[in-house]
């Protein structure tokens, strides 16, 4: 980063504006101090001179010219005398420590003059500044009383230069500070910019380094990082979907193609052709349903239906699904039970929830052996008053290590390779759950699988919660799935 670039930054411009304001106020302050100190010293000197002069005139009035002369001679010869005296008749000096009337006198106010005079002898002579008041005495005598101003002037100039230095130093530090601050800010912004550029050029794994200072730039970096995290996750998801689609749709597409080609082969009988075509159609149907599931998952994941969520009775939806599947379960020799308190309200999308429930029930039925049972239930979790929906089967369950994985798309565990299904059932449930801000949990039901969806709490359930026995206080884990009065679905 060039220094010139620093000057262009917003931070520097801000710092510079601030500096100007600061410099003006410092100048005003120092000017005021100078004005007061110098003015005070000048006034004091003038007053001393004036008092001395008036005293001498008093003496003149009382003791005449001779008396005055004596006094002046005496006072002028005092060692270290700073006061300047000159008594003259016309231009002829009579007494005093000035040898003659000053020639370069500049009158500043009535009777006041600034001048220079020589002091010392011969080679040691020194020209010094003086300030005096001159008075005309009766009888043609003139009196000059003044002060040597060298020290006063020196003090004044010291003050002046001190103040100028102070101003200079303030200015310097102001500019340097401005540059330093903006460089710092600019450097950190530059880091963010560089990372952004790297990400734009394709490296999505890059993150903006944080300083840990918890300031607003760190906040910005943190927020950007979170955003990147989300984007990356979405991108990964998309890539994964693309890969899975490529893999899991190509296989059935290939089978479809093979069957059609088989039907076209020369030596196939009409019957064989018909069979091949029919199985090609059912292959196509399978593909269509896989495709529909994928679309639905994608839709649920982008939250396209989020604005269609409304308050609805979860028990009713689940009851209808249990009702739909009950004969099929019985057909397979599996007992399907539906357990629910009267009304459980959730904010949801009826058709998607029905879809998810259907998937869970189908899944449970698929893996539950003859003579087993599937229990579908809704309830309120007594610990946090959140509505729940769960499906529990008595099948083999899912090994703990695989429970996370089965929620992903197209994941089919090794042992279910030979059962029909696209591997999308549970991932659709997971997507619907996410859309409802519900948590999905897969647990070991010993034996079997317990899949639970826990929805965000809504106020409308207060009546159900109030009526629910608080067994939670005694044993929270068991009470969570405390048996409710059962109704056969």
């Amino acid at each position: 980063m060039q220094l010139l670039d620093v000057f262009r930054t917003a931070t520097f411009r801000l710092a510079f504006a601030y500096l100007c304001l600061f410099a003006v106020s410092v100048m005003l302050l120092l000017g005021f101090i100078y004005w007061r100190t110098a003015g005070f010293m000048a006034t004091q000197a003038d007053e001393t001179i004036l008092a001395e002069g008036q005293g001498l005139i008093e003496q003149y009035k009382r003791r005449g010219i001779m008396g005055l002369r004596t006094i002046i001679v005496e006072r002028a010869s005092r060692p270290g005398q700073r006061t300047l005296y000159l008594l003259s008749f016309g231009d002829a000096p009579l007494a005093g420590n000035l040898s003659r009337w000053p020639t370069d006198a500049a009158e500043t106010a009535k009777g006041w003059i600034n001048f220079s005079y020589a002091r010392g002898v011969e080679e040691d002579q020194e020209v010094r500044p003086g300030r005096a008041v001159q008075m005309m005495l009766t009888g043609g005598f003139r009196l000059l009383v003044g002060r040597d101003m060298k020290e006063v002037n020196a003090i004044e100039s010291t003050i002046r230069s001190t103040l100028l230095w102070a101003l200079g130093i303030t200015g310097f530090f102001g500019v340097a500070g401005g540059v330093w601050i903006s460089r710092n800010v600019v450097r950190r912004l530059e880091v963010i910019n560089r990372t952004s550029r790297e990400i734009m050029s394709g490296d999505l794994t890059r993150r903006i380094p944080m300083q840990g200072s918890r300031d607003e730039l760190d906040d910005l970096a943190g927020n950007l990082n979170q955003m990147l995290e989300q984007i990356e996750r979405l991108m990964m998801g998309m890539r994964e979907v693309a890969d899975n689609i490529a893999h899991d749709l190509r296989t059935p597409l290939n089978r479809l193609r093979n069957k059609l080609e088989g039907a076209l082969m020369g030596n196939t009988s009409r019957d064989e052709q018909m069979t091949a075509l029919e199985s090609a159609i059912s292959e196509a149907d399978g593909l269509i349903s896989t495709f529909n599931s994928l679309l639905l998952i994608a839709e649920a994941e982008t939250g396209a239906h989020r604005d269609t969520l409304e308050l609805m009775d979860l028990s009713e939806v689940i009851h209808d699904i249990a009702d739909l599947y009950e004969p099929a379960a019985e057909d397979r020799g599996v007992t399907l039970r539906f357990v629910a308190p009267s009304r459980i309200t959730v904010r949801g999308n009826r058709s998607l929830l029905a879809r998810a429930a259907a998937n869970l029930v189908e899944n449970a039925l698929k893996y539950t052996p003859q003579g087993g049972s599937v229990t579908v239930s809704t309830g309120i979790n007594p610990r946090d008053d959140r509505p729940t929906f769960s499906v529990r089967d008595s099948g083999p369950g899912i090994p703990e290590a695989d429970r996370e994985r089965v929620l992903d798309r197209f994941v089919r565990l090794e042992r279910s390779r030979n059962t029909p299904g696209s591997g999308l059932g549970l991932s659709l449930v997971a997507a619907v759950a996410r859309m409802h801000d519900a948590e999905i949990a897969l647990e070991d039901a010993k034996p079997g699988l317990l899949a639970t969806l826990t929805f965000p709490a809504v106020e409308e359930n207060q009546a159900v919660i109030a009526a629910q026995p608080r067994r939670a206080l005694l044993s929270p884990t068991k009470a969570q799935r405390a048996p409710e009065p059962e109704t056969q679905g």
Binding site: T308, Y325, P327, S351, A358, G425
Partner: protein, 225 residues
Amino acid sequence: MRILVVEDDREAAAYLTRGLRESGHIVDHAPDGEDGLHLAMGGNYDVAVVDRMMPRVDGLAMVRRMRDEGNKTPVLFLSALGEVDDRVKGLRAGGDDYLAKPYAFAELLARIDALARRNGTDAVVTKLGVGDLELDLLSRTATRNAQRIDLQPREFLLLEYLMRHAGQVVTRTMLLENVWEYHFDPQTNVIDVHISRLRAKIDKGFTEPLLHTVRGAGYSLRAAS
């Protein structure tokens, strides 16, 4: 039946027209909504099969204009947009049924049949009958040959739907949509099991079966005569 097919994709239209003609219908084809509207207003069709996304005037706009001008021809929307929202949009625009692409031809035929016969049966009926099977919609009872049949509420709805479409082929999807109001295809044969339960109740013990399975399509409730 006279059927109007409004579909811009030439191959899809050719397939539809051929299939419907082979099933014994008279078919006219319009390649876009504007021609479709023109034909629908002029000809006296039993059913119009309308694609949604077409050049010039799209399907929704076409049906809306048909309805605005007082044309009551039953409309079946055929569309690649198959989500619940799209379905609702189609029905709001004045469509009578909605079938998402890709579809099975048997499904389309069954639905066209159902639509065409629905036309004109607007009168409120309180009793339905097929052969010696009777359904009283007021007292919610079913009898066959004066013998009372006990039905669960859902079974009653299922039988009612089948009886309202007596003699027609009713597909599993139609049953799922109209009796259960679900718009998805279950992986398992849930509908078949419901049907076989119903069949056990209405046909068991009687010589003449009423509830028939139509291979590759669905079910049909009809008396032998």
